[in-house]
């Protein structure tokens, strides 16, 4: 400090010689601080991007039938051999996803023999604090062959768990209702396998430019108007016919 102050004193002339306590300059530490903050933020951003790139370069499954960006792999229903593949990106905590699930169920009922419906996770974690744990709960149930049962429970009873601080307790109750092995469910919810699977879906959605949920892709092409049930069904029927 004395060294810095004396050089400052020489630079500032009369102000420095006026006696009393030396007045250190604010400019130099401010400049150093700005540089340090820029470097720290840059390092944090670089590390975060590198981690994401590594995750994105994880081996992806084949993309047959659905275009180059979206794979037809995942939880599916309908005809697994169908040429028409409808991929849905869903956030269990989104209200629109809950209401769309009945439309999808209706389509599966009517056209399931000629259509494969594939489920992908796309939890919007910034907006929906419980979306990720809900996705994990569905996947954990899936490991005990009850994915769709948990999927339906989560969407039907969304208001019950969407805003609570400890949704996991409610999901444990659902798991008990589905007669799952609770110890295994509790372990699987936070398993690396489950989290990595959801992460792959999220990355796939990001690469496919999914900006909102639910998002639907029919053979790799996005369906724009999914809120109108009639139009939604018509576009799917048209796609099924064009592939026959």
């Amino acid at each position: 400090m004395p060294k810095a102050s004396s050089s400052q004193k020489q630079r500032s002339g009369a102000r420095g010689r006026s006696g009393g306590r030396k007045n250190p300059s604010v400019a130099k530490p401010l400049a150093i601080l700005a540089a340090v903050v820029v470097v720290a933020l840059g390092a944090a951003f670089y590390l975060q991007r590198r981690a994401d790139d590594q995750a994105a370069s994880a081996p992806a499954s084949s993309s047959r039938n659905t275009g180059s960006l979206i794979s037809p792999q995942g939880w599916s229903k309908g005809n697994s051999q169908a040429k028409a593949v409808l991929v849905e990106f869903v956030d269990f905590q989104c209200g629109a996803c809950a209401s769309a699930s009945s439309r999808v169920a209706n389509i599966a009922r009517k056209h399931g023999s000629r259509l494969k419906i594939v489920f992908k996770h796309h939890p919007m974690r910034r907006a929906h604090g419980n979306a990720m744990i809900a996705a994990q709960a569905a996947e954990a149930a899936g490991l005990q062959f009850k994915f769709w049962e948990m999927h339906d429970l989560l969407l039907q009873r969304q208001p019950e768990w969407a805003k609570v601080p400890d949704a996991q307790t409610i999901f444990l109750r659902y798991a008990a209702e589905l007669q799952l092995n609770l110890a295994r469910f509790r372990r699987d919810v936070w398993s690396r396998e489950v989290r990595e699977k959801i992460n792959r879906d999220i990355l796939e959605g990001q690469m496919a430019q999914v900006r909102s949920v639910p998002a639907f892709f029919l053979n790799g092409k996005p369906i724009s108007n999914t809120r109108d049930e009639v139009e939604f069904e018509q576009s799917i029927v048209a796609a099924i016919r064009s592939l026959q």
Binding site: M1, P2, A4, S5, K22, P24, S25, V26, K28, P29, I32, L33, V36, V37, V39, A40, L41, A43, A44, F45, L47, Q48, A51, D52, Q54, A55, P123, M124, R125, R126, G129, M132, I133, P165, D166, W190, R195, E196, I198, N199, I202, L203
Partner: protein, 144 residues
């Protein structure tokens, strides 16, 4: 007040490391992607728990603000503005209490640990230790 520059340098280094650590977690919270986790293994459980956000903002950004303040205090302190340590000591004490609470949450409520949070806790302890070594509550020695 002690004028030991080593304590201040440790404070700046810990503040810098804390900014990188909390900035990394903060950027990850913005992307919504899962964060890679090290030996502790519970990063997602901790960072997606309701305790990870205050008022909708990831607590990593509050941590970033704290580390930024500490780094600023250290840099200004090295340039002669020693009185700033009284404020950064108060901030460090508050951060220490918050850290104890977050460690309690990880150990007893979530029963999961996050590497980034543990590193942050260590840095807070180091920063508080550096402040205590400086004894900013005492009068600074008169310069010759």
């Amino acid at each position: 007040m002690s004028t030991n520059p080593w304590s201040i340098r440790v404070m700046v280094l810990a503040g810098f490391a804390g900014m990188v650590d909390s900035g990394y977690v903060g950027f990850h919270s913005l992307t919504g992607l899962l964060i890679p986790c090290g030996p502790a293994g519970g990063c997602d459980q901790v960072l997606n728990s309701p305790y990870s956000h205050w008022g909708g903002v990831s607590i990593a950004w509050f941590g970033f603000a704290f580390y930024l303040a500490v780094t600023a205090a250290g840099i200004f302190g090295l340039s002669g503005f020693r009185q700033v340590f009284r404020f950064s000591l108060a901030a460090s004490l508050a951060a220490f209490l918050v850290t104890l609470y977050l460690l309690y949450v990880q150990a007893f409520i979530l029963q999961a640990y996050c590497d980034y949070c543990l590193l942050s806790a260590l840095l807070v302890f180091v920063i508080l230790g550096a402040h205590l070594a400086l004894r900013p509550w005492t009068r600074p020695p008169e310069s010759a």
